[in-house]
C-alpha cells in the first residue's frame, strides 16, 4: 500500500474517531459536572444509573429523545432547527486542526507515518478565532428565532458579550503567535518543546489569564452566564427549546468547553507534551487528555463557586479591563522579542 492511500485511510479513521471520542467525553463530562456540583454543594450527585452513577448522561439522552418535539407556532422554524448546530459544528472544525500527538516523522503505525492531527493547517489560530465567531450566530439566532421576548433578550445579551470578549481573546493569542513565530497549532506545540518551564504560560502569564477569562465569557459560563441566567430570564435563549433540541444546546456547550480546554492547553500549556522529558514515554494524547480534564475541572469549579456579574459590569470588564491589558501584553511581548531576538 502506498503512502498516500495509507494517509487517506488514517485520515478517515481519525476523522471518524475524533468526533466519536469527543462525544463520549462530553457524555461523561455532563455526568461529572453534576457530580462535582453535588460535591461542591454538600450533596452527592447522580448515583442511580451505573457504577457511581456514571451512566446518567445516557439515561438523560434516552429520556430527551423520547420527548415531544415542541416548536413554537410563530417561531422561524428552519432557523430554530439550525441554531444549535451552528454552535458546535465550528468547534469540531477547530478540533480538526488541533494536534493531539507528535506530527511529522516521529510516530509510525504499521510502518506508515501517522500524524496525530487531522489537518496540519498553517493558519490554524486564525481559523479558531474565525469559527469561534460563528458560534455567536448560533446563540443569537436561537434567541431571535424563538419569537419570545425572553429569548430575544438572552440571545442579544449573549451575542454582545461573546463579541466583546472575543477581542480580548484575539489579542492575547497574538502574543503566543509572536512567540512561536507561526499560526499553526502544530508549530506552537513544537515551540514548547522541553520541560514545563518551556511552556508559554510562564512568559505569557498575563495573556494566559486573560485568555482564560475571555473563554469563560465565550462559553457562557458563570460568572458570565447572563445569557442563560436561570433566575432572571427562565433560560434566556434556551427558553423555547425542549427535549433533544435543548440537549443539543447542552451538548454544544460542553463540546465547546472541551475544544477550548484543548486550545488553552495547546497554546499555553504545551499541548500533548509531557511536563518533564523523562515522562515522554506516556503517549501524547494521554497528556492532552489530562490537561483537558484539568481545565474542565477548573471551569466547573468556577461555575459552582462564583456568582455572576451584572450585565453592564460584565461588559465594562471586557472592554475596559481585559482589552487594554491584552493589548499591553501584546506590546510588551513584541518589544521583548524584538530585543531578545
Amino acid at each position: 500500500m502506498s503512502d498516500p492511500i495509507a494517509q487517506l485511510i488514517f485520515l478517515i479513521i481519525k476523522a471518524i474517531l475524533l468526533p466519536v471520542i469527543i462525544v463520549m467525553m462530553v457524555a461523561f463530562i455532563i455526568f461529572f459536572e453534576r457530580k462535582f456540583a453535588g460535591f461542591f454543594q454538600g450533596r452527592v450527585g447522580p448515583t442511580y444509573l451505573g457504577p457511581w452513577g456514571s451512566f446518567q448522561s445516557f439515561g438523560d439522552i434516552f429520556k430527551l429523545l423520547s420527548k415531544e418535539d415542541l416548536i413554537p407556532d410563530k417561531a422561524d422554524k428552519p432557523v430554530f432547527r439550525m441554531a444549535p448546530y451552528l454552535i458546535f459544528i465550528p468547534a469540531f472544525l477547530v478540533m480538526a486542526v488541533l494536534p493531539f500527538g507528535p506530527v511529522g516523522g516521529e510516530a509510525n503505525l504499521f510502518g506508515y507515518r501517522f500524524d496525530y492531527v487531522i489537518a496540519n493547517f498553517d493558519a490554524a489560530l486564525v481559523l479558531f478565532l474565525a469559527v469561534g465567531a460563528i458560534s455567536v450566530y448560533g446563540v443569537v439566532l436561537a434567541g431571535w428565532s424563538s419569537n419570545s421576548n425572553f429569548s430575544l433578550i438572552g440571545g442579544l445579551r449573549a451575542g454582545a458579550q461573546m463579541v466583546s470578549y472575543e477581542l480580548a481573546m484575539g489579542f492575547s493569542v497574538v502574543g503566543v503567535m509572536l512567540m512561536a513565530n507561526s499560526m499553526s497549532f502544530v508549530d506552537i506545540v513544537n515551540g514548547q518543546a522541553g520541560n514545563f518551564w518551556n511552556w508559554y504560560f510562564i512568559p505569557q502569564v498575563v495573556g494566559g489569564v486573560i485568555f482564560f477569562i475571555a473563554t469563560l465569557a465565550e462559553l457562557n459560563r458563570t460568572p458570565f452566564d447572563l445569557a442563560e441566567a436561570e433566575q432572571e430570564l427562565v433560560a434566556g435563549y434556551l427558553t423555547e427549546y425542549s427535549g433533544m433540541r435543548w440537549g443539543l444546546f447542552l451538548f454544544a456547550e460542553y463540546v465547546n468547553m472541551v475544544v477550548i480546554s484543548a486550545i488553552m492547553s495547546t497554546l499555553y500549556f504545551g499541548g500533548w507534551r509531557a511536563p518533564l522529558e523523562v515522562l515522554d514515554f506516556i503517549p501524547g494524547p494521554i497528556w492532552l487528555f489530562i490537561k483537558i480534564a484539568a481545565f474542565i475541572f477548573l471551569y466547573m469549579w468556577i461555575r459552582w463557586t462564583i456568582f455572576r456579574y451584572r450585565y453592564n459590569q460584565l461588559m465594562s470588564i471586557g472592554w475596559k479591563v481585559l482589552l487594554p491589558l491584552s493589548i499591553l501584553n501584546l506590546a510588551v511581548t513584541a518589544v521583548v522579542i524584538a530585543i531578545v531576538g
Binding site: A37, F40, L152, P223, E230, Q231, E232, R310
Partner: protein, 426 residues
C-alpha cells in the same frame, strides 16, 4: 492583590463612616438610576408567575428598554385562598392551622401573631413558661426564614452552591422545630393561652448545640459574601429605599431597619418574653440591598442570643393557660376525663368566650410587621378577621424600587425585599 477581601475596607471603616442623611440617600438613588429616553422601543416581558426566581407565583410585567426597566406592573393573587373568608366560618381555635399557611416559611410566627391578637381580645394571660417557649419557637422561625432568605438571595445572584449550603444549615433549625412542634413547616404549635406541648426531653441540649454552631456559620457566610467584590458591586447602592419611602409604602422589617429606622416591634411593643431578654435591634443606614443583607445576618446572631437566654431562664410552670371558657384543655386530659372532653368539644365547636369589640395587634414576623385585626360580635367565630401581612405591601412596593434599574438588579432587589406569595395573597 486583594481580589476578594476588604472590597470596601474593613468593617471598622464601614462602621465609623458617617451615616448618610436622607438627602444623600436620595442623591445616591438618583445617581444609580440609569438615564433612559422613554421614546425608544420598549419590550414587554412578563416575569412570572411561573418563574424560578420570583419567590412563588408573583407576576411582574416589565417594560424594558434594553436592560433598563421603564415600568413595572405587579400582579398578585395567584395564590389567593380566601383565608379571611374561611376564618369567618371557624372558631378561634380552628383558625390556627390556617395561619400556618400564610407565611409558610415561618409558620409559627404567624400562629404566634394571631394568638397574641386573640389573647388581647380575650384578655387572656399566657403563663411565663408558655411565653418563653413561644419566644424560642418564634426565634427559630426567624432563623429558618433568614437562612432561607440568604440562600435564595445568593441563588438569585447566580450561584446555586450557596443555596444548597444554606439549606443544609437550615436543616438544623427545621430539625429542632420538628422536635418541638412535630412539623417542619406548618407548625400549628401555638394555642390560645400558650403552646400545644411542653419542651421535649433532649430539646434543650440539641438547641444549645445548634445555636452555638449557627453563629459561626453565619460569620463564615458573612465573610464570604460581605467582602466579595462581585456581591459588593451588585448590592451596594442598589435598590435604595429611604425611610420616607418605607413609611409611604408600608415596608417594614429588615428593609425598614436597613434604612436607619430602629423600629422593631419586639422592642417597641413587646409580646411573649421579648421584654425579659436582652438583644439589640439590627440597624443599618444605607438602605440598599447590601444593608438589608447585613441587617438579616445580625438578626440571625441576635436570635441565637435570644434563644440562649430563654433556655437559660426558662421558668417552670404550666405552658398553657387553663381557663374553661377560653382555652383548649390538654390533650392528655381530654382522653382521660369527661369534663375536659366536654370542654374540648365546646371550645372547638362553639368557640371560646370573647367579648364584643375590635382589636388590632401587630407582631414582628421575620419578614416585617404582621398585624391581625379581629372584629368580634361576642360569638366563638370572628365576624371579620384581617391579616395584614408584610409581603402584601412589599409586593406592592416593587414599582418605585425598580423603576430605572436594570433587570439583574431587579432580581436582587426583589429578593432583598423578601416576598412570599402565601403571605401576600392569603
Amino acid at each position: 492583590m486583594p481580589l476578594l477581601a476588604d472590597a470596601h475596607g474593613p468593617d471598622e471603616a464601614r462602621e465609623e463612616a458617617p451615616r448618610p442623611t436622607l438627602e444623600e440617600l436620595k442623591a445616591r438613588k438618583a445617581r444609580s438610576r440609569q438615564p433612559f429616553e422613554v421614546g425608544s422601543e420598549v419590550i414587554t416581558v412578563s416575569m412570572g408567575p411561573q418563574h424560578p426566581s420570583m419567590h412563588g407565583v408573583y407576576r411582574a410585567e416589565l417594560d424594558l428598554d434594553g436592560e433598563i426597566i421603564v415600568d413595572v406592573r405587579p400582579e398578585v393573587g395567584n395564590l389567593h385562598r380566601g383565608v379571611e373568608k374561611l376564618c369567618e366560618e371557624r372558631t378561634y381555635h380552628q383558625i390556627i392551622p390556617i395561619t400556618d399557611r400564610l407565611d409558610y416559611i415561618a409558620g409559627f410566627a404567624m400562629n404566634h401573631g394571631y394568638c397574641e391578637a386573640v389573647e388581647k381580645l380575650m384578655d387572656l394571660e399566657v403563663p411565663a413558661r408558655g411565653r418563653y417557649i413561644r419566644t424560642i419557637a418564634s426565634e427559630l422561625c426567624r432563623l429558618s426564614n433568614h437562612i432561607l432568605w440568604l440562600g435564595v438571595h445568593i441563588m438569585d445572584l447566580g450561584t446555586r452552591t450557596f443555596f444548597c449550603i444554606c439549606f443544609r444549615d437550615r436543616e438544623y433549625v427545621l430539625d429542632l422545630l420538628e422536635m418541638l412542634t412535630g412539623a417542619r413547616l406548618t407548625h400549628s404549635f401555638a394555642r390560645l393561652g400558650g403552646v400545644a406541648k411542653d419542651l421535649p426531653d433532649g430539646f434543650e441540649h440539641r438547641c444549645r448545640k445548634a445555636i452555638e454552631f449557627l453563629p459561626k456559620r453565619v460569620a463564615e457566610y458573612e465573610r464570604i459574601i460581605k467582602h466579595n467584590r462581585i456581591y459588593y458591586k451588585r448590592a451596594k447602592n442598589v435598590g435604595i429605599f429611604t425611610s420616607e419611602d418605607c413609611f409611604a409604602w408600608r415596608v417594614t422589617g429588615p428593609a425598614l431597619r436597613a434604612a436607619g429606622v430602629p423600629r422593631d416591634l419586639r422592642k417597641d411593643d413587646p409580646y411573649a418574653a421579648y421584654d425579659e431578654v436582652d438583644f439589640e435591634v439590627a440597624v443599618e443606614y444605607n438602605a440598599d440591598v447590601y444593608d438589608r443583607f447585613l441587617v438579616r445576618m445580625k438578626e440571625i446572631r441576635e436570635s441565637c442570643k435570644i434563644i440562649e437566654q430563654c433556655l437559660d431562664n426558662m421558668p417552670a410552670g404550666p405552658f398553657v393557660a387553663r381557663d374553661i371558657t377560653r382555652t383548649l384543655p390538654l390533650k392528655s386530659d381530654v382522653m382521660r376525663d369527661s369534663a375536659s372532653m366536654i370542654q374540648d368539644f365546646y371550645q372547638v365547636f362553639k368557640g371560646p368566650a370573647v367579648p364584643k369589640g375590635e382589636v388590632y395587634r401587630a407582631t414582628e414576623a421575620p419578614k416585617g410587621e404582621m398585624g391581625v385585626y379581629i372584629r368580634s360580635e361576642g360569638a366563638g367565630r370572628p365576624a371579620r378577621i384581617r391579616f395584614t401581612t408584610p409581603s402584601f405591601y412589599h409586593g406592592q412596593a416593587l414599582p418605585p424600587l425598580v423603576r430605572g434599574e436594570m433587570v439583574s438588579d431587579m432580581v436582587a432587589i426583589f429578593a432583598s425585599i423578601d416576598v412570599v406569595l402565601g403571605d401576600c395573597d392569603r
